[in-house]
Symmetry: C2
Subunit: 340 residues, 2 copies
């Protein structure tokens, strides 16, 4: 179900390794998640079904359900609710992407026309609403109030993160603290929640539940930092969207935050002109990339992402070693090394 | 908290009557709902707080919380959860209005600039998301799974109704069945849910819960029919939006559905031209109003609304007479006679 060129976590694992074995163990459940996504997004209303088909054909890395299932495997969870919650977190993620496309006025998502481009902003808003609510309905049907509460809180975090993103748009004085608060809400909270769900399903003690939340949260931060980095280092063919698209949209990310105080006045004005005008009229994209790279902001950003990835591995230390635990550690490397 | 010129249900009651007494009895709870709306929509994120202040200043009829509190009073509910759920249904309604403004590209809502006009579509989407999720969080905190499930289902209905609205946009062949399905989801389901919440809070038997759902549902249908009617019969000063705005937006409502088969070819083409072009270039608004009125479509639509209003009163027959029950019956007349 993945889109062309987009590797899933499992696809990047060396065949025959213990990690590959862990992925083989969760593969049937990932299939069930895929089935749940198909079934859950079915509707007698024609328009919903049409958009559903488009969204599901587009696929995705299914990173959040994969994490959730690996944690469930590591904890020896035997039930079927991990599948439901795996689909649930993917629905939440998908809803946020659909609404994010409205925010960015994006014409392309995962290399294909985005929903709002194809069907208009109006329908995109409603389909996103439908998916959020459907996800919550799925959780309520399982009947575990505390898990739905946690997922609802993480989804509110996500929304608040997006609102902070708008609020901070174009601000060249954004601090690293503000950046991490934003990224924590926008991306890391749902990763944290995904990793914590199985801990709640098996009734793990609070401190170990927290460790798994921390694992997911730190992994999510690393994931988002790498995402922001790719805006500077990748190319349109790989990303499926233009390079420096974030900067052009007024999004101030870690490489820029690190480069700005080190740049000279002329360079700083060039970066700020992109943020202000949303164009490269005063400084071509290549020049901006050169400035940011010149002040080691790329390498330093990568090092920070690596620290978060290492930190998330440490959160797993107290859990009994197993192929699933190895796969979760591997996820951190995957997130660091991904190219799209 | 009501906006200038917008009467609440209570304000239209004759002073000293038993109904006025019922409204006096719920007035302190309505104040608490208002407080809950203020408290619930508070955020450390500046942008959320700014939009919250704008939305809450705008007020509204608070019709859904009023119904909920009146039913709670009629059933002798003594707790405080009716206040929480009263705020919850108002938040859901508010979220849907905010997202509806994106759909209609409306510049004015309740006589004031709409959120999307003032802050842009992007933020409007996220604020609506935030409100939906916050509403669900409130319900989850109360901890009654079945009530949150019902409210979640009604909110999905609402979203599906809006999607159907888009799907049917501009369709001059819309049937009355399709119209009632759309209106049932878009408006009546949340009314039904609001009236049913107190029945669940006091643990009423299923058949009586259903009666209260039916009461709210039929009232909601009557409410929406009158809303659609006002598009033809009111004026911009009263409505706070231009007359025939719905028709211009491609929305085919009951008066049009009734008039179209009776109109002659030339008249039908005029109505269809408004639906198709979104302008009055081929037929001025006054002429469209004249055509629809000429075929008794206005009077007949009003009669259908009255039938639903009468039907909703009948649903209350088996409940012990009380000022609260009288007030709920009065709500049906209020809905029929409202002028905005």
């Amino acid at each position: 179900m993945s889109s062309p060129g987009s590797s899933t976590l499992a696809e990047t694992v060396a065949a025959g390794s213990p990690i590959a074995q862990a992925f083989e163990l969760i593969a049937p459940k990932l299939e069930l998640v895929e089935q749940e996504l198909q079934d859950g997004f079915r509707s007698p209303i024609r328009t919903i079904q049409e958009v559903a088909d488009h969204v599901l054909e587009g696929g995705g890395k299914r990173l959040r359900p994969t994490l959730l299932l690996l944690v469930a495997k590591m904890l020896g969870y035997e039930g079927r609710q991990d599948v439901v919650f795996g689909a649930l977190v993917e629905f939440i993620h998908t809803a946020s992407l659909i609404h994010d496309d409205i925010i960015d006025d994006s014409a392309v998502r995962r290399g294909r026309p985005s929903i709002n481009y194809k069907w208009g902003n109006h329908l995109s808003v409603l389909i996103g609403d439908y998916l959020y609510l459907h996800a919550i309905r799925m959780g309520l049907e399982v009947g575990d109030l505390s898990i739905v509460q946690m997922l609802c809180a993480a989804t509110i975090d996500l929304t608040e993160g997006e609102i902070l993103g708008l609020q901070n748009n174009g601000r060249s004085d954004l601090t690293t603290d503000e950046y991490f608060d934003l990224v924590g809400r926008k991306t890391a909270a749902l990763f944290g929640a995904s990793a914590r769900v199985p801990a709640m399903l098996v009734g793990l003690e609070a401190s170990r539940q927290q460790k798994l939340w921390d694992y997911g949260y730190k992994l999510g931060i690393a994931f988002q930092i790498v995402d922001d980095l790719l805006d500077f280092t990748s190319n349109e063919a790989m990303l499926g969207k233009p390079v420096l698209a974030d900067l052009k949209d007024g999004k101030v990310t870690l490489p820029v935050i690190l480069a700005l105080p080190r740049a000279n006045d002329a360079e700083r004005r060039k970066i700020e002109s992109v943020l202000r005008t949303g164009t490269f009229d005063e400084a071509p994209a290549e020049e901006i990339q050169r400035i940011v790279a010149h002040y080691d902001a790329i390498e330093e950003t990568r090092a920070i992402a690596r620290r978060f990835a290492d930190g998330c591995k440490e959160c797993l230390a107290e859990f009994t070693p197993s192929p699933a635990r190895e796969a979760l550690e591997f996820a951190a490397d995957f997130v660091l090394e991904r190219e799209k």
